[in-house]
């Protein structure tokens, strides 16, 4: 029988790895992810989870251990955050080139300096181009379920996948969680069937020197399988509903059908944006929400369908690519580029370094969107001393002033 518990996002992730029957787990502590490592240590030590837990000396090594384990045919899992994910970078590429369906949970936090453990999507989005699938969880339930959903697809396309969840807002917040029945999960996610597993009976070399006459094709195959993953995520998300009771999709709309003004968001802040959309509807404003769940593969076609013909689109980014714009905004713009019905896309940068993104923040964004003509690349929301709007060098920014405590 499924169990109903009150758990944090971190503990839910550990349960996800357990329900998925991860066989080799290797991870390194970092705030705010540490609880995942601790709980998985407990679960393996007590025998509740029959897995090997390798207490490595760094995140680089955590991913390297997963690479070794997965190459030898085991289902491998790790979890990290911020600096740890950055340190893994080289091995993230390795997992892709070696075509290893490792799953990782990243608790998104801001990058140092200054040291900040607070919510910010810059860490995970900096890994945009490594070739990992990426899902953004909004709830504790999803922090658990997306791991299972991800393995289901990863092991069909032989690509790794990461599940992002927000620091503290999700990682440390307790919500009701349905811990699925193990037998049902086993039905949904059978054991890993590797194509190769370093079998001494078949002495092959893996990942060695490859000349210019082959490398391009190997990468083409990565691209091809990432494309396949788009449909597989849809299918596996649907099947998740049939077998485990929650249907998941790469994109999720809320009050979208007749919306003129669409707010686009990803991750835990979406809950507040959703509330703002409800409020706006009550005021008679035709607002809607589009939540991006799958970031890689990016659901380009569906985004065109969902956003084509709208009056205005505002993308909320809890991250920014200096010299360009918020990364979700950038991706949405490029998906819509050249479409005859493409709406103007306004990029809003919010909540950097864990500054609150409240229901009021979403209202502020909508108020600005309604009156603004030019779809700016980056409109900053909540920088001290700077009214909402684009970069303006004639304003005095006041970093040392304490944050106004929210009314």
């Amino acid at each position: 029988m499924p169990e109903r518990l009150l758990l944090t996002g971190n503990h839910a992730a550990a349960y996800g790895a357990m329900l998925a029957r991860s066989e080799v787990i290797s991870a390194y502590p970092i705030t705010p992810q540490t609880m995942i490592v601790e709980l998985l240590s407990e679960l393996t030590a007590s025998g509740r989870l029959d897995a090997k837990f390798i207490t490595v000396e760094s995140e680089h090594s955590a991913m390297a251990a997963c690479v070794g384990a997965s190459a030898a045919g085991a289902r491998a899992y790790t979890a990290t955050s911020g600096q740890g994910l950055a340190l893994m970078h080289e091995m993230l590429h390795w997992a892709v080139g070696a075509r290893l369906p490792i799953v990782l949970t990243n608790v998104s936090r801001a990058m140092a300096p200054g040291w900040s453990i607070w919510s910010d999507q810059s860490d995970i989005l900096s890994q945009r181009d490594v070739g990992w699938m990426m899902l953004f969880a909004e709830s504790v339930q999803e922090a658990q379920d997306f791991i299972i959903w991800m393995y289901r697809v990863a092991e069909q396309v032989f690509l790794p996948g990461m599940v992002g969840m927000d620091a503290f807002i999700l990682s440390h917040t307790a919500e009701p969680l349905i811990v699925h029945d193990q037998e049902a999960v086993d039905e949904y996610l059978p054991g890993f069937q590797p194509l190769y597993d370093l079998d001494p009976e078949q002495p092959r070399a893996y990942g060695g020197l490859v000349n210019r006459d082959h490398y391009f094709e190997l990468r083409y195959k990565v691209y091809e399988n990432m494309e396949r993953a788009g449909q597989l995520l849809i299918d596996a998300g649907e099947e998740f509903g049939e077998v485990l009771g929650h249907k998941y999709t790469p994109l999720e709309g809320f009050m979208l059908d007749d919306a003129d003004y669409v707010l686009v968001s990803a991750g835990a802040m979406t809950s507040n944006v959703r509330q703002a959309v409800r409020d706006l509807r009550e005021k008679g404003i035709k607002a809607g929400l589009l939540r991006v769940i799958a970031f890689r593969p990016f659901p380009v076609k569906q985004i065109r369908q969902k956003l084509g013909g709208r009056k205005k689109v505002a993308v909320l980014d809890r991250n920014m690519s200096a010299g360009h714009s918020g990364i979700f905004a950038e991706e949405i713009r490029s998906a819509l580029l050249g479409r005859p019905d493409a709406p103007p896309v306004y990029g809003y940068v919010v909540g950097i370094g864990g500054r609150d993104v409240r229901v009021e923040t979403a209202h502020e964004v909508m108020n600005d969107l309604l009156v603004r003509d030019e779809p700016e690349m980056s409109l900053f929301v909540g920088v001290k001393g700077l009214p909402i709007g684009p970069l303006r060098s004639d304003y005095e920014i006041r970093p040392l002033e304490p944050l106004e405590v929210m009314r």
């Binding site: 066989e23 080799v24 290797s26 029959d50 897995a51 090997k52 390798i54 207490t55 490595v56 000396e57 760094s58 680089h60 090594s61 390297a64 251990a65 997963c66 690479v67 070794g68 384990a69 997965s70 190459a71 030898a72 045919g73 085991a74 491998a76 080289e90 091995m91 390795w94 597993d197 370093l198 079998d199 001494p200 078949q202 002495p203 092959r204 070399a205 893996y206 990942g207 060695g208 020197l209 490859v210 000349n211 082959h214």
Partner: protein, 300 residues
């Protein structure tokens, strides 16, 4: 004790190694005693090339190539998977001195400290050869490399990797070289037979182009390294019990250095040469004392 070198070959002829490559010969000899139920993990090093470009593969065990600094931990991951699957496969991490002494040291220390059930083998050619002969922390005093040119040769002594490994108190560590194949095979056999913990082999491996010498002197030069006490052959059990396995004679160190063009700066600098001589002697005396203590019947 009868020491033998098995005749069976497990490495294809015609690898991409240079003539006289000690790294290639070391692998060939190690495979003879490794057994067939084995997997090798290769970080970036000359062996990334020697094994051949895809789809060529020179060894008759599987090889997993990996990033430069990850040999020990990728091997750990492979071993974890094999263990979960109920297999007893020997997992070998095979790294150069760069992948052991330098960039690979963190993961190596982690694996050694956790006493992972892997066999780590370092083939040590005393520089980064893959990238064209740059110094490593294994490069000895007075050596020319492309980053320690004749005008500013390597000033520091070679890092004491065996001391570092011994400090981790792993069950077995040993030095060896292909110039003494029976001794090497004995150590591989011993390392393979000790299960359940970390084993480490440090193999001095000549590199004729990197050492600026003739390929036909490859075996001779490694032999002289042992005879002159520059590279003594010994074993360490549990980080404490030392056994010298081959007794050097009193070959002058100059006879080792003079075979190699890379030591030209050293041989032209009397002061530096004296320092090196003292250093070799001091290390030998330390080793000897440890050997004697280990074999005196007194607690080691």
């Amino acid at each position: 004790m009868r020491w033998v070198v098995p005749e069976a070959e497990h490495m294809a002829e015609g690898t991409l190694g240079c003539q006289g490559c000690g790294g290639a010969l070391s692998m060939r000899l190690v495979l003879k005693e490794l057994g067939q139920d084995a997997v090798a993990v290769l970080p970036a090093c000359c062996w990334s090339i020697i094994d051949g470009p895809w789809p060529v593969h020179a060894l008759d065990i599987p090889v997993l190539h990996t990033a430069f600094e990850t040999a020990a931990v990728v091997a750990t991951g492979v071993k974890a998977a094999k263990t979960i699957q109920g297999k007893d496969t020997t997992v070998v991490a095979w790294a150069g001195d760069g992948g052991t002494f330098d960039i690979g040291l963190q993961a190596l220390s982690g694996a050694a400290e956790r006493n992972e059930d892997i066999l780590f083998i370092c083939y040590d050619n005393e520089a980064y050869m893959n990238t064209g002969i740059q110094r490593s922390s294994s490069t000895p005093t007075g050596t020319w490399t492309t980053t320690t040119p004749d005008q500013r040769p390597e000033a520091r002594p070679k890092k004491d990797i065996m001391g570092i490994i011994a400090a981790h108190r792993i069950p077995y560590a040993a030095t060896a070289t292909a110039a003494y194949p029976e001794d090497l095979e004995h150590k591989v056999r011993t390392a393979v037979s000790i299960k359940g913990g970390m084993r480490f082999l440090h193999l001095l491996s000549v590199c004729p182009p990197g050492w600026k010498m003739e390929a036909d002197q490859a075996i001779e030069v490694m032999r002289r390294a042992v005879r002159s006490k520059v590279f003594p052959l010994y074993e360490i059990r549990n980080g404490r019990e030392y056994t010298i396995t081959h007794w050097p004679d009193d070959l002058p160190i100059e006879d080792y250095f003079s075979l190699q063009g890379r030591f030209k700066p050293l041989l032209g600098n009397d002061e530096m040469l004296e320092l090196v001589r003292e250093n070799v002697e001091e290390r030998w005396q330390t080793l000897l004392a440890r050997h004697e203590r280990s074999h005196s019947g007194a607690p080691a």
